[in-house]
């Protein structure tokens, strides 16, 4: 299977703190990869490395190689990389503007001005994010007026509008209620036909429900990485077994 990201010997430091220790990982195309593990284990940090959002933190230092489509992410232009690798955050973060403007924001930033083209992009993105039917009559309304789950799907639509290849999701459902969570999970299952998805989650049931591969992190190291079914059914490592059976974490 083709891998789209290959993480090789990555070490990451915040100042003096060693956050990621010698991480190696392959992320495969059009698959859902889940990162699980206790809080502070470095799973979100690795996710942010993939689209270089860690650049925004002043004293963050990354060693090793992260190859995206065979080229080190350091050698990409950050803006290019981020338009091809989208990101959905822990809490929904729609901009304080209309639904339409929220989705059109990315394409506009990349120089698309034609109204007709923008409208097509927005509609398509909203449809793919399974939000179109709910908001098609009030695209001019503020994105902040939507419910939490709708806001998160709006953020996903905002990502999709950039026509990315990879979507990174950082605990996308942690701020949502069970029904909204379910909708997002269904959406992930739809989206994986077209996109590569990497999802960080606290919730192991969610990992089993949505992902094809799972990586278990602890204290900045990858303890085990395997197909989701196998990892949960027959964990090879004792720590993994303890974690997924709920003995700690």
């Amino acid at each position: 299977m083709d891998s789209i990201f290959s993480v090789k010997n990555v070490n990451l430091y915040y100042g003096d703190k060693h956050v990621l220790k010698d991480v190696n990982l392959e992320i495969y195309k059009k698959q859902v990869t889940a990162f699980i593990g206790p809080s502070g284990c470095g799973k979100s940090t690795l996710l942010r490395c993939l689209d270089r959002m860690n650049d925004l933190i002043d004293d963050c230092k990354v060693e090793g190689e992260i190859l995206y489509k065979g080229k080190d992410v350091k050698n990409y232009d950050a803006m290019d990389l981020r338009s091809s690798v989208g990101m959905v955050f822990q809490t929904p973060n729609p901009f304080p503007m209309s639904i339409f403007d929220n989705v059109a924001y990315g394409p506009r930033c990349h120089g698309i001005k034609n109204k007709k083209v923008l409208k097509e992009i927005v509609e398509e993105a909203l449809k793919k994010a399974a939000l179109y039917d709910e908001v098609k009559d009030n695209l001019k309304e503020s994105g902040l007026a939507l419910s939490g789950g709708q806001q998160q799907r709006l953020c996903i639509a905002r990502c999709i509008a950039m026509k990315p290849e990879v979507i990174l999701m950082d605990e996308p459902t942690s701020a949502l209620d069970p029904i909204a969570t379910l909708k997002i999970e269904e959406l992930i299952n739809d989206l994986k036909k077209e996109y590569t998805i990497v999802i960080v989650t606290h919730n192991m049931q969610q990992a089993t429900r949505v992902s094809d591969y799972t990586a278990f992190f602890m204290l900045g190291e990858i303890v085990e990485y395997n197909k989701t079914g196998e990892l949960f059914k027959s964990p090879k490592n004792k720590k993994t077994e303890d974690y997924i059976t709920g003995r700690f974490g």
């Binding site: 232009d77 803006m79 290019d80 338009s83 990349h110 120089g111 026509k163």
Partner: protein, 316 residues
Amino acid sequence: MNNKDITVAKSNRVRKGFDIFWYRLFQIITILCASVIIFVIIFILIRGLTPFFQSYDIDGQSYRVNLGEFLIGTTWFTSPNHYGVGYIIINTIYCVILSLLIAVPMAIFSSLFITRIAPKPISKFLSIVVELLASIPSIIYGLFGMGYITAFSKWVAELFNVQTAGGLSTLSVVLVLAFMIYPTITMLSVTSINAVDKNIINGSLALGASKTQTNFKVVLTSAKNGIFAGIILGVGRAMGEATAISMVSGNANSGPTFSLFDITNTLTTAILRGFNDTVGLDYDIRFSVGVVLILLIVGVNIILNAVKKRIGEKSR
């Protein structure tokens, strides 16, 4: 690579250029804004020190100001060119201290009243009054001073059988200053009293202390750092105030003045009054007074901040 990727790559270079351009522009502007204070100090220092190093030709005679005489001098005459600022410094400090004696108790009691005692509508009304007082420009305080406060000073002086120069006096200056810094101190005190931990207050009440005892013993001591910060701000405002007090001071040419009913002179009024020439000693010497004013404000601030630190440490 398809077509879309190429156009994006192209526009990215432009966008990056913009990023660097705006970043640099904003950086330069910020450095410029921050360097204003440096320019202020340098320019005032250079011009203010000139009178002590350069001779001026006045009516055919060469004249240079002696720094020592300037600093301890007790007269400010423009015509035989004797500029002494010593008495003016004393007057300034004297007036500020007296105005604090009036404004600080007023402010502390008012802030307690606003935060702890008054029912909500009255508290709100008083807050608005204080905010309004704070936003009234100094020229209006000056006008009010020339109208009512000088008349009041005159009336008080007559009670003591003392003559005043139409009410222009230390007392008028002190009252105008007190009224101007009262809202400043009050607003900061209100903020700091509001920030006092409710648990401490409840703890005091639970011990059987009365509400008033709690207010004065617990609330005020807990808020004293903020109140002191307000006082420091008030002192700064009082020392830098110019127009309002120049209208009621009487501009004394010699001193120091300790009587409440005599005319007086402060550093700011000395700079402001009789400012006509655009060259020469009489012009340059104002900048020397400016230097003295800056040094005085900085000095007083350092002392008061040290005191504030001591108070803060003690309470810990």
